[in-house]
């Protein structure tokens, strides 16, 4: 797995590249848009992380030119701008995901992982599992340690999302995006509420659904 990091801030670039390498990815760094474009066109990357504000060629234009050249490489756009308009602009230019600075590295990693999986994976299985928890997307049956569990629709969607990211932390923002279909953070504690309900049903002994402080939640296979 090879990831291209196009970021002009040396500090951010170095911690992202180091983090990616620790997580088992190969990572290349381009300090400006033109270098980034040249690298992306000549090398076969599995994903690219592109900052919006770049010298020589800005990130949005870079992505547009990549798409114009029929490069389907998944792109995560990084930006200091958090407004909904900027997010929409970033996604319309051909970006596949959008993350606002400052960000938690684990969230960046989770999103990159999801992007690569989405781009490479064969059609999803109808049955998701995480340790002793199983979820059937078709029959909507959920079992925990062999016993059936009754879940409300939103709890079900949340569990499905967590099971797709087993062993990797997901942020509240990611949950809001995928479970509530909110493209911005409505600044509420709804995620905590639903997570604690789900926890009560599938993880009464607090071994599967962990809170990662400062990041979000992680589902650990158990049993």
């Amino acid at each position: 797995m090879r990831v291209l990091v196009v970021e002009d801030d040396a500090k951010i670039a170095s911690f992202v590249v180091r983090g990616l390498k620790q997580a088992g990815y190969a990572a290349d760094h381009a300090p400006d848009g033109e270098t980034g474009l040249a690298l992306a066109e000549s090398t076969d990357y599995d994903a690219a992380i592109v900052d919006v504000m770049l010298p020589k060629l800005d990130g949005i234009s870079l992505v547009k030119r990549l798409r114009a050249a029929r490069k389907t490489i998944p792109v995560l756009i990084l930006s200091a701008k958090s407004s909904v308009d900027d997010r929409i602009r970033g996604l319309q230019s051909g970006g596949d995901d959008y993350l606002t600075k400052p960000f938690a590295f684990s969230e960046l990693l989770a999103r990159i992982h999801a992007l690569i999986r989405r781009a490479t994976q064969s059609p999803e299985a109808t049955r998701l599992t995480g340790g002793d928890v199983t979820l059937d997307l078709v029959t909507r049956e959920v079992t925990c340690a062999g016993r059936p569990v009754e879940l409300q629709p939103r709890e079900f969607t949340l569990l499905a999302f967590l099971l797709r990211h087993v062993g990797r932390p997901v942020s509240k923002t990611m949950i809001l995006e995928h479970v509530w279909d909110y493209s911005f953070d409505p600044q509420t504690n709804v995620v905590d509420v639903v997570v604690s309900r789900l926890r009560a049903k599938i993880d009464p002994d607090h071994r599967r659904l962990e809170t990662v402080r400062g990041v979000g939640y992680i589902f650990r296979p158990h049993g």
């Binding site: 308009d85 939103r154 909110y182 911005f184 409505p186 600044q187 309900r197 400062g214």
Partner: protein, 478 residues
Amino acid sequence: MAKELDAATPLAGPRSWSGRDRRLRQSLAFRLAVQYALVFALASALMFSVLYWMLASAWDARERGALERRAEDFAGGFNNGGVPGVIARITNETSSDTRALFVRLTRPDNLIMYTKWPDDWIESQVQQLVPGISITHNVLRIPQDKARDYTIVSRPLPNGWMLHVGRLMDSPAVFLAPLRRAFAVVGAGALFLSIAAGTILAWRATRPLRAVSETARRILDTGDLAARVPGATGRGELAELVRQLNTLLDKNAAHVRVLRETLDNLAHDLRTPLTRLRGTAELALQSGGDPAEARSALADCVDESDRVLHLLEALLDISAAEAGALKLNLDRLDLRSLVERAADLYREVAEEKHIAVLIDAPDPVEVGADAIRLGQAVNNLLDNALKYTPDGGKVVLWARTEPGSAVLAVRDNGPGVPLPEREAIFRRLYRGDSSRSQRGLGLGLSLVKAIVEAHGGTVSVGDAPGTGAEFTMRIPVR
């Protein structure tokens, strides 16, 4: 910096006495007065010249007429008695006037038959001229000196004889000298007076301009935003200018005040979490190095920095909305869809508190609005209602189309909002008294207000039917 500004702006100027002098000379008032005085002086000079010329010619005509009458009289004497007749007429009249007369008779062959020289005539001067004169002009004037002219009237007599009658006459230049002097003196005085009075009048008339410049300089120099231009009570263009400028200054001061308050609040609100953050980090540094404790401290730091970030973003949103810089993507939408989405978002939160969220909106409520922004406002109103409604309570989301506006009301059966707090709860970073205080940024309602007002609408709070609070937003429908 201030010096540069002085040089760059004509409003400001040096304040020394010599500077004051220069200021006077450069002042609009002085220049106006001088220009008008010059025009006035030119016009007066022209008028005086015409008057002078008319006076001089009238005087001349009169004197000449008198001389011609004498010549006529003597001609009569000649007709009756020849040369002796003329002499008889001359000697008959012994008046001083006659004594001053020059009389001469010439024959057709230009031989002088009679001459009478007055005492004050200098013969040599006239001698050269008169004998050879072929008289073509009726009247001849020859200057004797600067002050007087010889004036000689020629009158043809029968049989080719010629009669010359002359007299020394004051030249008009001498006669009118006092008039000229008077004009010079009075004119100079008037010119000086008109410049002085004109300057004073113009100086007074342009006082508002100087007041404006003075005020501008004071604000530039001292940053005193409370400075206002005096003299706004009058009528006319300048008073209007002063009033408009003062209004402008008022608005600016209000904006600056709001900005300063926001910054103060922001600084205060950033200080608290930043202090906690710093304290947590410092404590973790000092403690023995227990990894678990250090991790927990780091997590606290991340939480706090997230809180700071959210606060900052919410404040920026509010500021943008209040400054009219919030970009709205207006669409026609049904307010009910926003209400349903909000109820859906908060379903689990409401369930946890056993609060029933009811939607009372039987008909579509069409409105032109930014779905995301207005959705945020609706969410915040519901969030607020859920926070202040006790367990087992009820929240009603009520939406109707009223004439000219789309109305959304969020009613709860909580404690309601006390009258004195109803304005304040929409202020940024305001949190109700401690008994009601909940964890939160204190920005939810001010964001609602900013968003609704960016849509041209209003938001208010009142009593719900029965008990509790009712928040109402009205968005105008065009």
